[in-house]
């Protein structure tokens, strides 16, 4: 491949994470330092910003402010959830994209997101190729859910896992403080994959693990749950439960959406989510003091607890994306491969064809869930533990986080 001179654009898409900005920084910093990339643009709210011609000139930003992206949660360029059409069905958006790419001489497109975003990436890549417009397209992965196909793990997961494990450990101490007994149910994100709920088990490494963990990969049985819980509660006078928001009954319906379930005894819509529903069922059944806690946005925004390993890898994914694109790679997502050959964890990048990633889903292997379906195995812990290592060196000011505040000057 020859040298391809031109501008690049980076967009962020889907639900944010604690480290998606570290990936963006990896792209932006590396692109700004490149000899062949002529301009570096950030798209406002992902693909929508490109379609609306809302691009920011990253060269106008203060380098020190950009560096703060390493510890700034959420998607600083703005995100979107925009499902782009199949170009063979409707190429309106693609024509517009091509127009904007030509306007700014964009020859590099980096898209920072999850499953859907890799699908977008793949479609854009194919369209540009079909139209004979030379443009190198690379996907930069992110998702707290860790469900991206073709990679050992995904930037964003390690930090959310560290947040979850630390919070579970802390709440575990609180849950057993009174002699009168107490049950706490912690609801964790991950609608289709149980990686995050499983991460609660990491707290067991410091002796504070939950008693029961339920993942969406196995069928949720309310009676079995109540039996398991009651047994533990009777023995210990307390019980800590971690449960994925995505757990479902045998008929496929989400427990969180149960409206007329005989087992929970309610005939109306629940407002408070799964943790509140389960807390109420347990309260009725056991008479215990029960709290439901939903980690909600906290777990994906908790940058103060981001794992340094995750930050470093997220940055590397962005950096390698630019380096590989400049070398001529296109139509790929940056993925990770785990190397344990030295005896300790090392992470190496790999290139994964976008077409293979798009819309595939990587769930927790059933062999990593215990036989009772209420916990994970040591294999799961061995897998996840390296990803939460390293206390980050975030910048604080006045005892508060100092997040990046970009000037976002519109590209000319």
């Amino acid at each position: 491949m020859g040298v391809l001179k031109g501008a690049c654009v980076i967009g962020q898409s889907g639900g944010p994470t604690s480290v998606i900005n570290a990936s963006a920084y990896g792209v932006i910093k590396t692109a700004l330092e490149s000899d062949v990339i002529t301009n570096v643009y950030g798209a406002s709210h992902g693909i929508i910003g490109i379609l609306n011609d809302e691009l920011y000139d990253m060269s106008k930003e203060d380098p020190e402010e950009l560096k703060l992206l390493l510890n700034t949660p959420s998607s600083e360029l703005g995100s979107c959830r925009y499902k782009i059409a199949d170009p063979d069905v409707d190429d309106t958006d693609y024509k517009k994209l091509l127009e904007i790419f030509k306007k700014y001489d964009i020859r590099y497109f980096f898209y920072n997101g999850g499953n859907d975003s890799m699908d977008t990436c793949n479609k854009v890549s194919r369209y540009m190729e079909k139209m004979g417009y030379e443009c190198r397209v690379i996907g930069v992965p992110k998702t707290i859910d860790n469900d991206l196909f073709g990679t050992d793990h995904c930037p964003g997961f390690g930090s959310a896992a560290k947040y979850i494990a630390t919070s579970v450990a802390e709440v575990s101490r609180d849950n057993r403080v009174y002699p009168t007994g107490s049950v706490t149910i912690i609801e964790i994100m991950g609608r289709h994959a149980g990686w995050l709920a499983g991460a609660a088990a990491l707290a067991s490494v410091c002796g504070e693990g939950p008693d029961l963990i339920y993942l969406p990969e196995t069928v949720f049985d309310m009676d079995k749950f109540l039996t398991d819980l009651t047994k533990i509660y009777k023995e210990k006078k307390n019980c800590l439960v971690a449960v994925s928001e995505g757990v479902r009954y045998a008929d496929g319906s989400f427990v969180s959406e149960a409206k007329t379930s005989a087992t929970d005894g309610f005939g109306h819509a629940q407002l408070g989510g799964l943790a509140a529903i389960l807390a109420n069922v347990v309260k009725e059944k056991t008479g215990a003091k029960v709290r439901g806690i939903e980690l909600s946005l906290l777990q994906r925004a908790g940058a103060h607890l981001a794992s340094q390993t995750d930050i470093d890898e997220a940055f590397m994914a962005g950096k390698v994306a630019v380096e590989k694109a400049v070398e001529g790679v296109t139509g790929m997502m940056i993925g990770f491969e785990r190397d344990m050959s030295s005896g300790s964890y090392e992470c190496k990048y790999i290139l994964v064809p976008l077409a293979s990633v798009a819309n595939a889903e990587n769930t927790v292997p059933l062999a990593w869930i215990n036989e009772e379906g209420n916990g994970v195995t040591q294999e799961f812990i061995d897998y996840a533990l390296p990803l939460i290592q390293g206390e980050n060196s975030r910048v604080t000011e006045n005892g508060l986080p100092k997040f990046a505040k970009l000037k976002k000057i519109k590209a000319e």
Copy 2:
């Protein structure tokens, strides 16, 4: 006062905080080093442990493990919520206490808790005096609610405030990530006092403050709330709300317990707490994407974000309690006085008569709440900001917190 030789006991009581163990460590370490204190006992689950003759010998603990108490959340000795009778009405418990005190030659009683615990402390102090049993009784304050009377602020508040402000700042970034708009409502502890809800405003110091804050000190008006919120949402396409769990309607009823409120349109009990109730009302009214987040136990257990200022002061409160008791002080709580004479914040201890603290409540001055009743003034921020300063130096292992694990060897 002469030298009083004898043993001491420390008990922890009420809802735990991130730093109540730092106070316990202040007591235990100082007492172990004292020449006149012969034995140092920890009571299992506060006053209940004394009544049940369940005391742990603190001299049997590893000093390094005890030191980990500085960063260990919850009450490591165990807590209780035990309302002791008035000794003039029923002196059963007091007789038992005296029996145990005599058995172990306990001459120093340190009680680490909030309002109710100071009441217990006061009653025990008066009873022992009446019975002619020389015993010095000192209260060591704790509460995240910051509602203790007679002290500028209370150990536990600063750390919870730092957790809240940091979490609000992080969620604030997440709340405005999509172009489609979003409302997030964060429910914060503090049933009668709005110090913690007000602490959400500290996030404004780093430019990420909530748009609206509601404290229990003012009447909550659902229509006014919806008007305020809708105005902001229309302007900005997003809105971040912090609300105390204790907000009440003009008739005195808790908004969180509203069962038949015409304004929220529901005729049944809500499960998910205040945030879920308000989220649903806002969703119906505005059609916006709304999330309710309840910080729940996370805010009082979040030791990883404890303010070093708070940890230091909590330790000092315990240390001074022992020093003063040894000097002859009794019937007092250790309180704090703020000294700004050097131009910057300094904290000095004071002695507050237990009788004046017991069952009194310190709420947010109305002058520190804005005229609209939906935010706090700069005075509030100036008051609270010094208390969240200092990143703590907690010990981690395997990327997880390393909490104190005491051996808890029963006293002989």
